[in-house]
Amino acid sequence: MATRIEPNVQFIREMQAAGGESLKKCYQCATCSVICPLSPEDAPFPRKEMIWAQWGLKDKLVNDIDIWLCHNCGECSDNCPRGAKPADLLAALRNMAYKSLAKPAILGKWMSSPKYLPQLIAIPAVLFLIVWAISTGLRIPEGEIIFAKVFPTLAAIDPIFILVTLFVVFTFISSIGSMFSSFKASGLTPKEDAPGIFRSLIMVVKDEIIDHRKFKECESNQDRYPGHLLIFYGFIALAIVTGTIALFYWTDKLFGFGMTTPLALWNPVKILANVGGIALIIGLIYMTRSRLNADTRNAINSYYDWYILGVIWVVAVTGFLAQIFRLADTATLAYWVYYVHLVSVFMLFAYLPWSKLAHLVYRTAALAYARQIDRRGFDE
């Protein structure tokens, strides 16, 4: 019994709206599948995704693991003879996955279009204003600038961000679960002798993520590679800083030794924070420039791309400015900028599962799954 196929035209339009605008131009030459160094020997991508997309085969595409194997280097689009931009299609499919994989769906919807940006800003903006109102009645505190005066760590920041973290972690666990079951549904079951999921994860992190090996393989990625790497390590540095500070905050509270913010500039943790911040800014400059310079014949920039870039920019810039204004002792500015910083950090983390940054988690998970089903690039 042959499969009955009914193209989902609505889905085609959604893909086009989400960035896969040119997908109909493909004439199935498979240049993309060949040129992509990550595309495997068997059922290579993205040629098949292109025809599925042209035919609006939603079921196939939403369960497709290959969209996560793509690192969006754009080599396929650069070499596409028709300007069908397969990289953009895969990015669009990922964008659509960010929107639909994680619940609540409303957040996915809000994250998919700039018209919902006010709502997304409003949530942390109101939340932190409330905190401010409770702590100092929205006034600028006197004396040495210590942000905790307005946004107390114990009473506000930690609970809020711990809750956010739990929320994000829970969301990811459930959406990765559904992602894996969709892979299974499409017939991809882990090999019997495959490594366990955690070993696979470790292998992925070790082999691929730490040095961005695959990212580097694509010629078209030359200018994005350093940017992506800098942002990635910038975040790692800042994550270490945040972790360390949180740890010492508690050791201080509980055992009486540790550090309290603000840290002195010579403090190694502070240095790491600043180095991380600078890496972030440089990375951002790289990434923004490559987005702006992208040849629109071969690639387009979606809202997902701009959202995440924008938010990281705000996080990084406000982070630095807050520090500068604090050191310059301009209290009003310092506190307000810090407020904006908190809002943007919230926007970065709380909405992470629906943002482009979710690729960090989904791709890592999918790559680990790919190891389990032994789906590897042509040259591996």
């Binding site: 004439y27 199935q28 030459c29 498979a30 240049t31 993309c32 599948s33 060949v34 040129i35 595309s39 495997p40 020997e41 068997d42 059922a43 290579p44 040629r47 098949k48 070499n79 003879p81 028709r82 300007g83 014949r297 042509f378």
Partner: protein, 415 residues
């Protein structure tokens, strides 16, 4: 009263046809050809598809037609430098480059024996060399030698002048300019093979055993650099596995954003060259769509019956050289089989497309062109594009457009 004469720019197959068809109606016709011989691109081909007959056969007839028709005059090594006036009354200035060999040349070949300078043969797409003085090619019409002044050492050497018993060589010949008055123009400037060096992923111009379809024509031609033996350039070995890479540059917005019309049929024809010479050789043709329109389909069908010829749907996007052996590794997705494969070949032929000559060379003609350089208008000015100056076409259709344009040109001059 309009001028009854017609000028044809380009003496390739389209230009010859356009000129002769008009002349045989009774009009005076001038052919301006920039090469030292008439016949153009087809003179380089071994066979035409699908009949597998030699182009020299039709060219010979056309040259006979020229010889027997006093209304046809032609200029080789000539280029139009200016066109003024309007339909029915054009004044055309033509620059004739020095050939350095005059009508006394009897094609006896004595000069070639003494010439000390070698040059790459552009006629053979650099697969062979000629001397600085050379016969344009074996079937050259006019059968008259020519000197490449880019490499010739001139009067300092003059060995050929001494060797020539017929005072046929004049190393001090100068460029000439002539003026013609005509009523109408036909533009048959034809095409050039797309610059293979731009096909970086396909090893164009870098991997020695990756050749172009036009190079294949020369390799297979009895009068070609290897006397018709198809062998790979790196070591002269007989190829046992050969791949054809279709749409090498064509149907590609990064190169030629149109289909070059002839490449599918040309590669199928090349399959016959190979299979005739090497009964054991295996051939793989990588394609996007096999375009054998009309009755050409039967030729495709015939080739498909050959079990040593395999057609694979999937464009080759990567070609690398295996350094030790000179073999060539081709990567493509076999789409119908759903696998991406690397395959090793002894010889790879890129089916490169055609680019209108006017796109790569300067043209003084004021006629509308499309983004690729094909001429898309000019009729109201009494200027008619024919053959591959107009769009990518095969020989047969080029001849049709040339014959049709001859009528339009006649209408213009009779008005």
């Amino acid at each position: 009263m309009s001028n009854n004469s017609i000028l044809v720019i380009g003496g390739g197959f389209s230009g010859l046809t356009a000129a002769l068809e008009a002349a045989e109606v009774g009009h005076e016709v001038f052919i301006v050809e920039k090469m030292p011989y008439l016949g153009g691109r087809v003179a380089q081909l071994k066979h035409y598809f699908p009949k597998l007959c030699p182009p020299s056969c039709g060219l010979e007839i056309n040259f006979q037609r020229i010889k027997n028709n006093p209304r046809v005059k032609f200029f080789t090594m000539a280029e139009v430098v200016s066109v003024s006036g309007g339909p029915g009354n054009y004044e055309v200035k033509i620059k004739i480059k020095p050939r350095y060999v005059n009508n006394n040349c009897t094609a006896c070949d004595k000069c070639v024996e003494v010439c000390p300078v070698e040059r790459d043969s552009d006629f053979d797409f650099n697969l062979d060399k000629t001397k600085a003085i050379y016969r344009p090619h074996l079937m050259s019409f006019p059968m008259r030698y020519v000197i490449d002044d880019q490499v010739c050492e001139g009067t300092a050497c003059a060995k050929c002048v001494e060797a020539c018993e017929y005072q046929a060589i004049d190393l001090e010949e100068k460029e000439k300019e002539i003026t013609l008055n005509v009523g109408s123009l036909m533009v048959a400037t034809g095409w050039v093979p797309y610059d293979v060096k731009k096909l970086i992923h396909l090893g164009g111009g870098q991997i020695s055993n990756v050749i172009t379809n036009m190079q294949m024509e020369r390799l297979a031609a009895p009068a070609g650099p290897t006397d018709g033996k198809i062998q790979r350039p790196s070591d002269g070995a007989e190829p046992k596995r050969i791949a054809f890479v279709q749409c090498a540059g064509s149907r590609d917005q990064n190169h030629l954003d149109y289909c070059s019309y002839i490449c599918c049929m040309a590669s199928l024809k090349h399959c016959t060259y190979i299979r005739e010479q090497y009964p054991d050789a295996e051939v793989v043709v990588y394609y996007i769509d096999l375009r054998a329109p009309g009755r050409y389909e039967k030729f495709l069908h015939k080739i498909e019956q050959d079990e040593k010829v395999l057609m694979v749907k999937g464009k080759v996007a990567k070609i690398e050289e295996e350094v030790d052996t000179g073999d060539v590794i081709v990567t493509a997705e076999d789409i119908m089989g759903g696998v991406k494969k690397e395959e090793k070949f002894n010889l790879v032929v890129l089916a490169t497309g055609m680019q209108p000559s006017v796109a790569v060379e300067e043209s003084i003609l004021d006629v509308p062109k499309d983004d690729h350089g094909f001429i898309i208008g000019g009729e109201e000015k009494g200027v008619f594009a024919v053959g591959c100056a107009k769009m990518p076409l095969d020989v047969m259709t080029s001849a049709e457009t040339a014959t049709g344009a001859a009528l339009k040109a006649i209408q213009t001059v009779r008005r």
